[in-house]
Symmetry: C2
Subunit: 359 residues, 2 copies
């Protein structure tokens, strides 16, 4: 399956399918020079880096590999600087292509490296987790975390192509699959009620790693993301709806120092909170919130909600959120399945009441 | 004087004149939010930061100041990370505006900070050196140096406006003035023979800091730069001609660890080398090279050519130049006053012969 992200001179294709990575024709349609550097981590690299390098070698591409430690704790300026060092030592010039082989952390780091090496070189995303395939690999958000907040440093910088190989999902731990499914559910809530129904019906198959159903989910998720990103590349309007549940999620991740929840789990919990806030604001029927709640409960993530968080520290964390503008809290809320909008009108009082139900 | 850099949705204005910085109307026409951060250095800050902050305060803009040590040795990831830290600590959000108040180092650092804070916020250039006014403040090149080379890390990221206050040139040391004039001469060589003649006629006035003639030089230089940048924002073609003399200059700067020559001085020497190479390649008449040489000699920079450099290390340094592509050396050469082009066909042998005349 081939999708297009319609971004004018920055347009690119997403290829989705089984075994794509090892097929030479995949790379024929991707822009790539004579040299490349694969950025990967120590979980994914041992599984796929050689395969990818061999495929590219057959096409005459000389490929270096940069491997970092797996996990969110690698998403730092130091990891990014280490990529810069290798690029400098190996003298990669403006014709080189970076290839992000891994999950969201690898994609964000490699993308930021591509955005900033020699003022910008090409990069391709080869996402190997469901979360990265349906979310972070598409849209050009790149960057690293700062001690004071997630993704504070980065750039909007579009990849030149995305290769989502469904085979990589077969080696994915359940927690990672669940994290991706949380974002998949998000697309249903914010943009497509029918897709939400599809997930309700197929969740057991998706959780069991059924490749056909996962393929359908990845394709529809990427279609929605591509459409939203094409309409608003730099998140000045529509694109904000992709952050449904994310303001809560970022606060949860920051306060637990990224150690207790992975990003998708935090988003799953955050979406339940956002649905609750939508009801409190009078935007959403309680019955729809319950439907959202029931679906997310099947992911078995709500019990992972960290203990001991205070409402005050949650609100403090919202204040540092990137989406906060001139001190006003911003939340993406839903008006019903398939519809989401940003609200700047949430009162602290109402927010506290909603948080009380969870903390 | 008001110029336009025609870059579509990234278009912006350059305001050039005496005393612009302290005039409120200057800032009415510049996009700026309710909060700003002035990035400056410990030479320029004490002279102008308060004046700028007071002017902005009268317009209701709350302005923080970040001051770094003056000089190329500040153009590092560490200095950039310190700006990120202050932005994080003071919680600057996406509505903030960075203002680069200083020379090229400050402009490149502040621009890169703007490119990478929260994936990109607005910034304005307020260049206070001739070099920055005629070169680095226009065009969106931002970044820092890497231990293995100049400007290896950075981004193309356009400012939202440029304010060139000619009054700031009155406090400029002669070496800084000379550095700027080297780039001014470059515009004549690569794009405008009449402008080259103007500089030949007015060089004494320019060197004496005559504001009227400097104003004319800044305006014409900015016009040429704006025109070239608008035609080729990301340096994939025409824009390369702006690098006339720069491949030599970067090698000289790298090999002397940025300690002996400032950038403009290196460019002045580099242009003489580039003219010599143009003659050796059969592109340029010896008489025109002599005219270029005579003009640059009046800047009294050729005697600053570092001693003890070897041809081998110069060629080694060219190899690491950003403009090198897939190992082929690229030099911008001139075919006569007002005309420059990139050559990929220079042989090492010929290059060695040219370098022998200087080293």
């Amino acid at each position: 399956m081939r999708l297009q992200v319609a971004l004018g001179e920055r347009a690119y294709e997403i290829l989705i399918g089984e075994g794509m990575m090892a097929v030479e024709s995949t790379w024929h349609s991707m822009p790539i020079g004579e040299t490349a550097m694969v950025v990967t981590d120590n979980h994914v690299g041992p599984l796929y880096a050689d395969r990818l390098r061999d495929t590219l070698a057959a096409l005459g591409v000389q490929t270096a590999v940069h491997q970092l430690a797996a996990g969110e704790q690698s998403k730092t300026l130091a990891s990014w600087a280490a990529i810069m060092d290798q690029l400098a030592e190996e003298r990669h010039d403006r014709t080189t292509t970076l290839i992000a082989l891994g999950g969201g952390v690898v994609g964000d780091l490699a993308g930021f490296a591509a955005a900033t090496w020699l003022r910008g070189v090409r990069y391709l995303q080869v996402p190997t987790t469901l979360l990265a395939q349906v979310d972070s690999s598409v849209g050009g958000k790149t960057g690293v975390n700062h001690a004071l907040g997630k993704n504070l440093i980065g750039a909007f910088y579009q990849p030149s192509g995305v290769v989502a190989d469904l085979d990589t999902l077969s080696t994915l731990p359940t927690r990672e699959l669940v994290a991706g499914l949380a974002e998949v559910i998000k697309y249903g809530i914010i943009r497509d009620a029918k897709f939400f129904e599809f997930i309700e019906q197929q969740l057991d198959a998706l959780l069991a790693g059924d490749t056909e159903q996962l393929g359908r989910a990845v394709v529809r998720a990427c279609e929605i993301k591509a459409e939203v990103v094409a309409a608003d590349e730099r998140e000045s309007g529509l694109r904000e709806i992709l952050n449904f549940g994310h303001t809560f999620a970022h606060a949860l991740e920051t306060l637990t120092e990224y150690a207790e929840l992975n990003h998708g789990e935090a988003v799953a919990i955050g979406m339940v909170m956002a649905a609750e806030l939508s009801v409190a604001e009078g935007w959403l029927a309680a019955s729809v919130r319950d439907r959202i709640m029931r679906l997310i409960q099947r992911l078995l993530v709500l019990e992972r909600l960290p203990k001991g968080l205070s409402i005050d520290e949650m609100i403090e964390a919202f204040q540092s959120d990137k989406k906060t503008r001139a001190g006003r809290l911003r939340f993406v809320l839903t008006r019903g399945l398939g519809h989401a909008e940003t609200s700047e009108a949430v009162s602290q009082e109402r927010l506290r009441k909603v948080l009380e139900r969870f903390l």
